[in-house]
């Protein structure tokens, strides 16, 4: 129906349809609109046409086309085979939601029945991931930090270094409505994130979810006030220092328990009354460390992809 519209190609849905059909760069506005084939020819994006231009690659047009048909058929066959095998396995799985399933074995019994007593955390999952399995969570935080470092290397040290753009080039403009909304919303989001982190051992939440909320509020602030405003308090230096201190603290805190808490020795850290904010031993400081790492990583991902630098 809407296709009758004359400039359908330039509406959002027209572009979306072309993007789904496999065309690149549709969301960039062309200075002078061209026909589809012309644009493809100019950009060289139609790779089969591109193949025809360079016959010395070793393939002919028919060969490449035949290869593509075979590839598609084999892919579909493989997908059907994998899904069929998995469905066959599902047939032998125990019923959904049954208490007698083999998943619910003595490990989860121990966590539920002794968890609050041994870790002091009301939230059993928090007690599990930050006390029994704290080294696993340390690995996760390191994975996030290493991913942020790798993205930084790829986007800043490589060709991206010269493409660090100014605010106007990214397409950001002063928006009064967005700025007023952020003025009210951003501090509240920040406080809510801190609340979720500090109550990680008492209620649903913890370092990962709270850190993601704080990172989101930083992204919102940057989007409405621009990165010059956020550089007043969050630069690459801040990112480095915060992440390093948090990860170093986590590492030291858990290595300490190597010497005192392992092998049934006492950990010397009082667990407190379960349900109090200062309880559960090391879980609260570890949650804060994880939250700092996650917030810095979330924000730096956004900054790196939008500007090419933190």
């Amino acid at each position: 129906m809407s296709k009758i519209k004359k400039d359908y190609e330039h509406t959002f849905f027209g572009k979306l349809e072309r993007w789904i059909a496999g065309e690149n760069d549709v969301f960039y506005e062309d200075p002078e609109p061209m026909a589809l084939e012309e644009r493809e020819k100019k950009a060289g994006h139609n790779y089969l046409a591109y193949l025809e231009q360079i016959p010395d690659v070793g393939y002919s047009y028919e060969k490449a086309k035949a290869y593509h048909y075979i590839y598609r058929i084999l892919t579909v066959l493989m997908g059907v085979f994998i899904v069929g095998t998995l469905l066959y396995v599902v047939y032998f799985l125990p019923p959904f939601g049954d208490a007698d399933n083999p998943v619910n074995n003595e490990v989860s019994r121990r966590y539920i029945e002794k968890g609050m007593e041994e870790t002091g955390a009301v939230n059993i999952v928090a007690g599990m991931i930050l006390d029994y399995r704290a080294f696993d969570t340390f690995g996760e935080s390191n994975v996030l930090f290493i991913a942020a470092s790798a993205v930084l290397l790829l986007l800043k040290a490589g060709d991206g270094a010269k493409t660090a753009k100014s605010q106007k080039e990214i397409g950001m403009k002063e928006d009064v409505i967005l700025q007023r909304v952020t003025f009210i919303l951003s501090p509240m989001l920040f406080l809510f994130g801190i609340y979720v982190i500090l109550n990680g051992h008492l209620s649903p939440g913890g370092g990962f979810s709270g850190g993601a909320i704080i990172g989101g509020s930083l992204i919102l602030f940057r989007n409405s006030y621009g990165y010059e405003a956020i550089e007043q308090f969050f630069t690459e230096k801040t990112f480095q220092n915060c992440t390093l201190i948090a990860l170093g603290f986590y590492c030291l805190a858990k290595s300490y328990s190597f010497f005192t808490g392992a092998n049934h020795l006492n950990s010397h850290i009082p667990l407190g009354t379960p349900g109090d904010i200062f309880s559960a031993g090391l879980i609260l400081p570890l949650n804060i460390a994880v939250g700092i790492v996650v917030a810095c990583t979330m924000y730096s991902f956004y900054a790196l992809f939008s500007k090419g630098g933190i």
Partner: protein, 124 residues
Amino acid sequence: MLEHFLENGEVVTSVILFGIGLAALLLHKNLIKKIIGLNIMDTAAYLFLAAQGYIEGRGAPIVTDGVTRMDAYINPIPSGLVLTGIVVSVSVTALMLALTVCLYQKYHSLNMDYIIMKMRKEEE
């Protein structure tokens, strides 16, 4: 047999999601769409884990009113494993998107076949 599949609807859904993600990963030429396909596969894994941990009629694993009996809460272990999965998925997605940005800056295209063609031509 069909009854069993209907009872295990969550797990069957996760298998189908996995298949959709795999098809998107392998059949699309656009690199961004391939990454979206991989994310759909991740989602299928989370759904499978969460479905395995669920027990009919029990509460979330947060101690309420001091009750620490096993028959009051669901299994907390799959919840912790899903957390690990989400973190790894976020990191891998960011890394792949950064690599895609690098490729786009060099070849000005997201079409994988076109990029491979250009790379082969450069090698010659």
